[in-house]
Subunit: 325 residues, 2 copies
């Protein structure tokens, strides 16, 4: 199953979301126009697709779902722009980041602008429930990232810590994408809850796979250097399992314990960690955990009306596990 | 007239705003609690006072005005946190900035969190008009700051540029403060417009005085180093008038034209510019412009019901001109 087949059901409306997003860069200010058109080209689009698909179980109302799906993608983009500034990341999606080309100051302000623009699209739905959801999820994301940055290079983190972190960072936005689609199509409360849970668990699975790909992917596939989580001091599931497996002599432990390791030595440790992960069952273990979350995501989908959108959500869960980038 | 006398009318409710703001730092995450309680101590409180005073002309409803006034102050604080990160400012209100103590990454995330929190307070009013206003003003502020950062060290700026900049940066939030207070108290459209204009013009005057104080104030009064605008490459009204007065041999021109001036020479140029401004009628000229905006602010207040709040707004306009910090 290809992503394009899954999206078929909402293909035309996804194109409308894309053109709404592009319209954000049609502004008088030349600087803002340049930065926003640069950052708003491309993107995976899984989040807006989730909003549209989740709107297919009751009264599909494009007038409300279109601005909401647009807001979801803009909010995601804004968090990426700020994340890259925070991590000093030079590359994203195979292209230099905003901070790399225009500097960190522009990245901060562009992110703020995109948050505001996302807020405007959400407000235009006129639905107070999704408006409140939006500001709560933004708190969850930024609060979670703050926790993560306080936890950087900390080896004393449990798996619960990790799940908490990716829940705030990724699953919260996925759940907002599905929940808001359900709310705006006036789905019954039970369906809203089923779709919220679907989005949440899918988001956890998606992030675990992302974290594995940071070890086993190639720079070309990922559009950014592999091993970047370790370089930032972020302990993800594969690294945690590696620490459990080799508690004493471990390159991650060495990397996180030294404050003044020369850059070449750091890169060497990251390379060793990647090799150890790739030559162990850790990758399979991580996929097993992610599969479990995908199963949880789909668990209650049976409570929704049986339609092509429900099938698309199931297929999407399968695809999240098998994706390569 | 003292500020405390002007605020007397809303003193108790301002104390409630303060305690709402303090409650923002009562969170489980220790890192977030530490950062937010640090930044949310202190502040001038003119913006929330404007919201409360503007709510006094029709149905004063504290249940709505309290979250709105809180949101206005949180939004202002969030923009300051991001501004300081962008400018690498070490000191604000006489204390080290977030970026100085905890680093730029924490400042970015704390600012995002405070924006989200502000959004939650606005959403809790349940009033779509102020919710939309909030996201539009956040766009105006961040878009305006972006324009300013593209214009840094640019000598080819007109007075219109300057007014446009301070309109986005300061007047927009002042106008949101007053307009939202009027909307939430169900004031008639004419009164809403009078109060919006009052806030807007008062904000312009406030910022002009702020820009003058960056030349004539002391570090102790201002809580930050004087001449910081020039150091950031920001051309404000006093510097513009100085360039008009001395078009050829001018320390501002030298400062802005050189890419690689040693730090000591930069400081020398800033000192010269400050001296030249202080020993010329430029300060008086700037105050005349600010006074003109205060007069515009008060011009239509006569259309509002004649009450103590209207008098307080007039007194506040007088005070903005005479403030020393």
């Amino acid at each position: 199953m290809q992503l394009s087949e899954i999206y078929k059901l909402v293909q035309e409306d996804l194109a409308r979301v894309e053109s709404q997003i592009k319209s954000v860069s049609e502004v008088d200010s030349p600087g803002l126009a340049e930065l926003s058109s640069y950052i708003l080209a491309g993107g995976k689009g899984i989040r807006p697709a989730l909003t549209l698909l989740s709107g297919k179980f009751c009264h599909y109302n494009l007038d409300l779902l279109l601005p909401m799906a647009t807001a979801v993608e803009l909010m995601h983009t804004a968090t990426l722009v700020h994340d890259d500034a925070i991590d000093n990341s030079p590359v994203r999606r195979g292209r230099p980041t905003i901070n790399e080309v225009w500097g960190e100051d522009k990245a901060i302000l562009l992110g703020d602008y995109l948050f505001a623009k996302a807020g405007e699209f959400v407000a235009s739905t006129g639905n107070l429930r999704v408006i409140k959801l939006f500001s709560q999820i933004l708190q969850t994301i930024s609060g979670g990232e703050l926790d993560q940055s306080f936890d950087a290079f900390n080896l004393e983190q449990t798996r619960d810590h990790y799940l908490q972190r990716i829940s705030s960072k990724t699953a919260s936005l996925f759940s907002m994408a599905t929940e808001s689609g359900a709310i705006l199509s006036q789905a019954p409360e039970e369906s809203i809850e089923v779709l919220r849970e679907y989005g949440y668990n899918l988001g956890i699975a998606f992030q675990i796979v992302d974290d594995v790909l940071d070890f086993i992917g190639t720079e070309e596939e990922m559009g950014k250097p592999v091993g970047s989580d370790l370089a930032q001091g972020t302990l993800t599931l594969p690294a945690m399992l590696l620490l459990e497996r080799y508690p004493d002599d471990n390159p991650v432990k060495e990397l996180f314990s030294s404050n003044d390791m020369p850059e070449g030595d750091k890169q060497e440790r990251i390379k060793q960690a990647i090799e150890l992960v790739c030559n162990s069952p850790i990758v399979q273990e991580c996929y097993a955990v992610a599969s479990d979350y995908c199963a949880r995501a789909c668990h209650k989908l049976g409570l929704l009306p049986d339609n092509t959108s429900r099938q698309a959500l199931k297929d999407l869960a399968d695809l999240v596990i098998s994706r390569k980038r």
